[in-house]
């Protein structure tokens, strides 16, 4: 990203930002709320949900103004942004209304819609009801993790998130990142007796070397250790046991090797 600093206005107030930052990034930094559904800071913005639409104009645009998605639009010198207006509210309301017709039973969508004054959909409820809003966060997080196990299938209104060929995805490591990032809890998973089930697949879990509590799937451990370039042993102790071990180590070290009055532990920096 360039280091060039540009001046822009959001809701009439002037701000500075690095050129190439998105409107959403600047607004977030300044504490100006813009609603989003498909956005996550760790993932590439895609502009799918359209909830973050804001109005932009520019003194050089001879009065032209239009709606853009804040998550994608890069700021530029002189840009004037409005984050709230009658028109923007209408767009956001309609989007949530449409999503409510798609997912009438998704509590999260009900909540966000209610925040925008939509308590029931004015459209025909979709025949195939789902809680998936197709924000694509799951697919993107899977890609960021380097697995690419799941993807979109088909197009248009028949689009869905799917494992390839409807089979247990061969590239899935059972990490459940997709399920955790999902705002509407549309991806089911469970851990039962040291076995994780997700995407019609069962994963044997690695157990904590101290307490035996299941930690993560064996496949995931191998994958993550390789990706991070660390020994898998780093991740075979659960946090509670690690803490206990640390405590024991410190106590032993200080009670045996040094007089208690002189011990000092520095938090390294």
């Amino acid at each position: 990203m360039s280091e060039k600093v540009v001046n822009l206005e959001i809701n009439g107030r002037g701000f500075q930002a690095r050129e190439g930052m998105t409107i959403l990034e600047v607004a977030k930094r300044e504490g100006i709320p813009i609603p989003t559904l498909c956005h996550h800071d760790a993932l590439e913005p895609v502009g799918a949900c359209r909830l973050c639409m804001v109005e932009i104009t520019h003194p050089n645009w001879r009065g032209w103004k239009g709606l853009v998605t804040a998550c994608l639009y890069p700021v530029e010198e002189g840009l004037q942004v409005t984050t709230e207006s009658q028109e923007i509210h209408q767009v956001r309301k309609t989007i949530l209304d449409l999503l409510l017709a798609r997912c009438p039973d998704a509590p999260y969508i009900q909540k966000v819609a209610a925040e925008h004054g939509v308590t029931a959909t004015s459209f025909k409820k979709n025949e195939v009801q789902t809680v998936c809003i197709l924000c694509g966060l799951c697919v993107r997080v899977c890609a960021v993790k380097g697995c690419n196990a799941i993807g979109t299938a088909r197009r248009g209104i028949r689009r869905e998130i799917a494992a390839p060929f409807g089979m247990p995805p061969p590239d899935c490591i059972g990490c459940t990142s997709c399920a955790h990032i999902c705002p509407t809890d549309a991806i089911p998973w469970e851990d039962v007796n040291g076995v994780r089930k997700i995407w019609d697949q069962e994963f044997e879990m690695v157990r904590c070397v101290s307490c035996g509590r299941p930690i993560m799937p064996v496949t995931q451990l191998e994958f993550e250790a390789k990706r991070a370039g660390i020994s898998p042993d780093y991740m075979t102790t659960c946090p509670a046991c690690s803490q206990q071990k640390t405590l024991e180590t410190i106590r032993t070290a200080f009670t045996i090797k040094r007089p208690a009055s002189e011990d000092a532990v520095e938090a390294a920096s």
Binding site: A42, I215, I230, M235, P239, S242
Partner: protein
């Protein structure tokens, strides 16, 4: 020079003021958060305080798949970018010292951030067990 959080366990009375201070400082509107520092009571003179060592070669940073963990060069603390964290839990598993936590089932990671340079635990520690110097 960069300040560090210095812990002198021999002074600790395990009053747990640090835990409270940490919780209040990081609490969201929901109420008390999880404390990033913990005091363990083993009897006078043997009490222990555990919090993040802010390791130089930190495993948590290495395993994070979305670079949500990064060192704040000003304070030296490794901080969690809460908007980037995807709650995968790898960092808390990778920390060999058990210094990281997750708030609820796979929510975002929690760790000591030295309160951005004004650690509340040190500020409120009544016995100077915790000093930020």
């Amino acid at each position: 020079m960069q300040k560090t959080l210095v812990i002198t366990p021999s002074r600790c009375t395990a009053c747990r003021t640090c835990e409270l201070a940490c919780s209040f400082k990081h609490a969201g509107p929901a109420g008390l958060g999880i404390s990033r520092i913990r005091a363990f009571m083993f009897g006078e003179g043997k009490n222990q305080i555990l919090t993040c060592f802010q390791c130089d070669d930190a495993a948590c940073v290495k395993v994070c798949p979305v670079t949500a963990l990064a060192r704040n060069e000003a304070t030296g603390a490794i901080e969690v970018d809460e908007d980037r964290c995807i709650g995968c839990g790898l960092c808390s598993l990778a920390c060999p010292f058990g210094h990281m936590a997750h708030d609820g089932r796979m929510a975002i990671a929690i760790k000591c951030d030295l309160c951005g340079g004004q650690p509340a635990c040190a500020t409120f520690c009544p016995t100077r067990t915790l000093e930020y110097i």
